[in-house]
């Protein structure tokens, strides 16, 4: 998270169970937590749930937070893992229904659309969402952290509690799956 970290005294008070001090942490880090949660879940309500759950979890484990670390970095890790669990739960709830086939759609051929214009198309967006739904929660998380959050492979490993090789391969698998699923869009584009 890019927010500058809170004073050590606030953290120390929060670690002793001072809820007012914890409020300061929540106020300072909520927006960045939401951004990450939304990018990972791609759903506003889910992102709200993840933000709340993450702060509750952070409060519970605050005693284990190492004061020499940055609270923002620690919280980032909690939000990322919370989002993965949320996606897993959502997938389980959907009873692993087969992914809708990604049909070919007609793209304008008279001019070459730029990436922004492609992304704005709701048809394309639906198919991209469907393709991302086809990734495992871990692949999706690793991909989001790399692609949208601009995190390095090492940072992804740290955030998700994975070895570097596992983080790297999660990103590789995600890109390969997306390449296959979005082939028809590329062909038309």
């Amino acid at each position: 998270m890019t927010v500058s970290d809170v004073p050590a005294t606030v953290l120390a008070r929060a670690r002793k169970g001072d809820s007012e001090a914890f409020r300061e942490l929540v106020e300072q880090h909520s927006r960045s937590a939401f951004r990450l949660a939304y990018r990972m879940t791609r759903n506003e309500q889910d992102a709200e749930d993840v933000v709340q759950e993450s702060f509750l979890r952070a409060y519970r484990h605050l005693g284990r937070f190492e004061a020499r670390s940055h609270f923002g970095t620690w919280l980032y890790r909690i939000v990322a893992n919370c989002a993965i669990e949320h996606i897993r739960t959502r997938l389980a709830r959907q009873n692993r229904a087969p992914m809708e086939p990604i049909e070919k759609i007609t793209m304008p051929t008279s001019e070459s659309p730029g990436p922004d214009r492609l992304a704005e198309s709701s048809g394309v967006r639906q198919r991209v969402d469907a393709a991302l739904e086809g990734l495992s929660p871990l692949e999706r998380a690793a991909f989001t952290l790399r692609h949208d959050e601009g995190r390095t492979i090492d940072e992804i490993g740290h955030a998700l509690g994975l070895r570097r090789s596992a983080a790297k391969h999660a990103v590789f698998r995600a890109v390969k799956k997306l390449r296959v699923e979005l082939r028809s869009l590329r062909a038309e584009g």
């Binding site: 929540v26 909520s30 991209v128 390095t152 596992a166 790297k168 391969h169 999660a170 590789f172 390449r179």
Partner: protein, 250 residues
């Protein structure tokens, strides 16, 4: 001419390839790799970047209002959590020693004493510590298994993962024995299944083909092991904080 594999090109796209200059040069002269790279570029362009709905400056306060009445009890500091497995290990050893000497669990011909919940507070505390330690062990095992099954490639070196898994085998065995002796069949059964899998990975080949990895994944899926480990982890943590229940004897 040495071609680059897709993995190299993905890292290159994200600016993390170590040999960037060499790949630059190669892409300029190799049509095959250049085409593969363009496919990656166009796929990721189609994916685009998600626009995040804005949250204003009051958002933090709104979140606080929603959670302030649900704040949980804080868990003990890190050093206590570090001590906990060590303490649990000592408890398990003590239980094992007592079992061997026949003082804690009576022989078959001796009727078992009736225990009443709340009569033995030290026993409750010991059980909670043990539950917490088993919960921590299961979490570590889940992470290690996920790390293993998420590796991929044409020929994967899994020796790092094997070292981690091998460390978990001995601990797992200790907890499984304790669960068996305590007559906790649910815990013993999951730990038994887990131990077989951990052993299989630890003693397997250090370089695996995609087919071999897929076979391990399929066995894990068939046994729903990761799911069972996850459920048991939650149960162990619940036992850690819940009031002690009378134990069924077998």
């Amino acid at each position: 001419m040495k071609h680059y594999v897709e993995d190299d090109l993905i890292l290159y796209y994200y600016g993390e390839a170590r040999n960037r200059a060499a790949i630059d040069q190669h892409l300029a002269s190799c049509g095959e790799c250049s085409t593969a790279y363009q496919e990656i570029v166009s796929t990721l362009a189609v994916v685009g970047h998600l626009e995040v709905p804005e949250r204003d400056e009051r958002y933090g306060l709104e979140v606080w209002q929603r959670i302030r009445h649900s704040l949980p009890v804080q868990e003990p500091p890190f050093w206590m959590a570090w001590l906990r497995p060590a303490l649990a290990g000592a408890v398990v050893l003590a239980i094992g020693a007592a079992f061997v000497s026949g003082r804690y669990w009576p022989g078959r011909d001796v009727p078992a004493p009736q225990t009443v919940a709340g009569e033995d507070p030290s026993g409750e505390a010991r059980e909670r510590v043990l539950s917490a330690a088993i919960g921590d062990h299961l979490e570590q095992s889940e992470r290690a298994l996920l790390d293993f099954v998420n590796t991929s490639g044409d020929s994967v070196d899994v020796s790092d993962q094997q070292l981690t898994v091998a460390d978990l085998v001995d601990t797992n065995r200790l907890y499984r024995h304790a669960a068996e002796r305590a007559g906790d069949r649910t815990v013993a059964s999951v730990l038994d299944e887990l131990e077989r899998t951990l052993l299989e990975i630890a003693n397997g080949p250090s370089t695996m083909t995609p087919a071999e990895l897929e076979a391990v994944r399929a066995r894990l899926d068939a046994a729903a092991l990761l799911f069972r480990v996850r459920v048991l982890t939650d149960e162990m943590h619940e036992r850690e904080i819940a009031p002690a229940q009378p134990r069924k004897t077998t």
